[in-house]
Amino acid sequence: MAKMTGAQAVVEAFVKERVEHVFGLPGGACLPLFDRLYDAPFKVVLVRHEQGAVHMAEGYARSTGRPGVVVVTSGPGATNTVTGLADAYMDSIPLVVITGQVKTHLIGNDAFQEADTTGITRPITKYNYLVRDVRELPRILKEAFYIATHGRPGPVLIDFPSDVSLAEVDFHYPETANIRGFKPTMQGHPGQIKKAAKLIAESKRPVVYTGGGVIIANAAPELKEFAEKINAPCTNTLMGLGGVPGSHPLFLGMLGMHGTVYANKAVHECDCLIAVGARFDDRVTGDIKKFAPKAKVIHIDVDPSAISKNVKVDVPIVGDVKEVLRELNKIVKAADTGDWLEQIAHWRKESPLRYKDDPVSVRPQYAIGKLSEIFGPDAVVTTDVGQHQMWAAQYYVLNGPNQFLTSGGLGTMGYGFPAAVGAQLAHPDKPVVCITGDGSFQMNIQEMSTAVVWKLPVKIAIINNNYLGMVRQWQEIFYKHRYSSSYMEGNPDFVKLAEAYGAVGIRVTEKKDVEKAIEWSKTITDRPCVLDFVVTEEENVFPMIPSGQSIEQMMDMA
């Protein structure tokens, strides 16, 4: 056992947990910790706003499968992490976030830069701690990493008073965490797995519907084997994209509000719906009474509370998706799905994903299609939230998991760019493309500095329609074209702005220049590059099932 300060103990724990990057911003209450970070054997990435730090850690975590780590100060430093924490909680991203706190004897006294951080973050973290005694610190650190990464992952916050960070402790880092109230079920129940296999064998029209759980459980290979074995079509949620290779013949694209017509039709007509690591979110189901009305439902999820929350399930299987699929793969037999696949192929031909192209102006879908072609299916793609996010989901074809990073649950504008920064730090040799909007990009644009300092060749493709595009689309359709506060008057010159930060940029206003500009951006390897695609302003995302409705109300391209 070595004697050291609480701050040093945090650094030692990070080393034991093989932390490579810490994202953060210092302030009074965490100065002792930042002093120890000064010569720590991992990289410390200084951000420009704490929200950026959390999204970077999310991008890092989602692209690597390892927990992201954040260190910020008390009060405003902590409150600035709130949106990021809520985002990570909704999308099950493993994070360990350390917030500075005022000295223990000042807690509750409305001290300078004091906030009740554990109180504020309780509903948006998987767990949180306030360290009152430095002797508890090693256990708390171990537990934090354990809880963040086991079962359904999520963010864990440690509120760390400055006097505790200066107090001395005999540091002994536990080998493992033993938390009596936290024992996630990993193995699926064998009887339930048998029942599922039987249901699948009897079905004529199965559909596999998968979500972010497949990505998190690292179960893409098992999923591919499963879908191929039972020869069933497969559709992904927004969070599940990459669970099946985008070019796989059994892949139907995304389902739900802006899903493909054929994915939604397949779900509507199927007799057996196999939900894997997905949670029947309202953006997926619309009117729940009319979702998969003819199907028996098998639901595999590591989180028991996700099962039967929104729909009644015929065969629930609680367990790690990877483990359960492995067991299923041992016993499932190919169902006779020839006619069914033919029917779906017909729907696919009848109503493919499509848009009206234009010979001169840039259609957003065209620009994203070109990004997909040029950066290829192995790139990491991050998005913000809105129309561009849906177009990216529809038109960027990706090969595998951990490549499509998007804010699915919370829908956080401002997520995409810092997430790209985190992903690029983790994958210096991969192309990382942030597909964003003129509205979203400005919500964390300050992180341009961070990206420039770290010489990150992140590509920022702005689908610039001068609107909060999705808001405008809803206002067009549901509010009689009354564009209340959705026109982005006063947008900056994004190219000049990039240059002001020490990055580069190019504006593209005509279709003929799209490809050239993207090719040029590939030559920029030592700094971020902004591609400002000035696109058709009033383009809509189709297909679209209006909120709370069913496939019967689906709108497709006029």
């Binding site: 554990t118 109180g119 309780r122 509903p123 998987k126 767990y127 306030l130 809880i147 938390i179 009596r180 109230g181 936290f182 719906l273 729940i288 009474k289 979702f291 998969a292 009305p293 003819k294 199907a295 028996k296 439902v297 989180d303 028991p304 509370s305 039967s308 929350k309 729909v311 009644k312």
Partner: protein, 172 residues
């Protein structure tokens, strides 16, 4: 696929073993407000093991809600074990301290009340009578109704505490 059909609302009593730590209660109550669940009563106290507390929760809802409540409670890191006492034989008690307005009617009914209920007079002055009563939650509700008719000046209730009737600890 079937959606959840509405089922009748029923009342359940949960016995929840939790870590005896600061902040645990706010995790539990926070869950109820965040998810829109209703608590009828909540009582908490340390157990024979000082690292554990037992929370007795009485709540109501339809089947889907009750199932979600149990699952969401189980998901809390600080929750170690949940027993749905309604699914087995259990004993429950609630303590009420109540001050009732002195009246001829109270005087008249007092002997019967005292003989039929677990009721004690703690204080008496010309204006009010203060009672202590310890009853099962069902009987406590009844008494509460009677006192209400008679005129409650002030009341404090502990909420229900309950235990399984099974012999072993935790009903094992």
């Amino acid at each position: 696929m079937a959606v959840h059909e509405p089922t009748p609302v029923r009342r359940i009593t949960l016995s929840v073993l939790v870590e005896n730590r600061a902040g645990v209660l706010s995790h539990v109550t926070g869950l109820f407000s965040a998810r829109g669940f209703n608590i009828d009563s909540l009582a908490v106290g340390e157990t024979e093991d000082p690292t554990l507390s037992r929370i007795t929760l009485v709540l109501h809802g339809d089947e889907k809600t009750l199932e979600q409540i149990k699952k969401q409670l189980n998901k809390l890191i600080d929750v170690i074990k949940i027993q749905d006492l309604t699914e087995e034989d259990f004993i429950d008690r609630e303590l009420m301290l109540v001050k009732v307005r002195h009246s001829p009617e109270l005087k008249e009914r007092l002997p019967v009340l005292l003989s039929q209920h677990s009721l004690k007079v703690l204080e008496e002055n010309p204006k009010v009578v203060a009672f202590e009563c310890t009853e099962s939650s069902q009987n406590a509700e009844k008494l509460f109704g009677i006192f209400k008719e008679l005129g409650i000046v002030e009341i404090a209730r502990t909420g229900t505490v309950a235990l399984s009737k099974k012999a072993g600890a935790e009903g094992e």
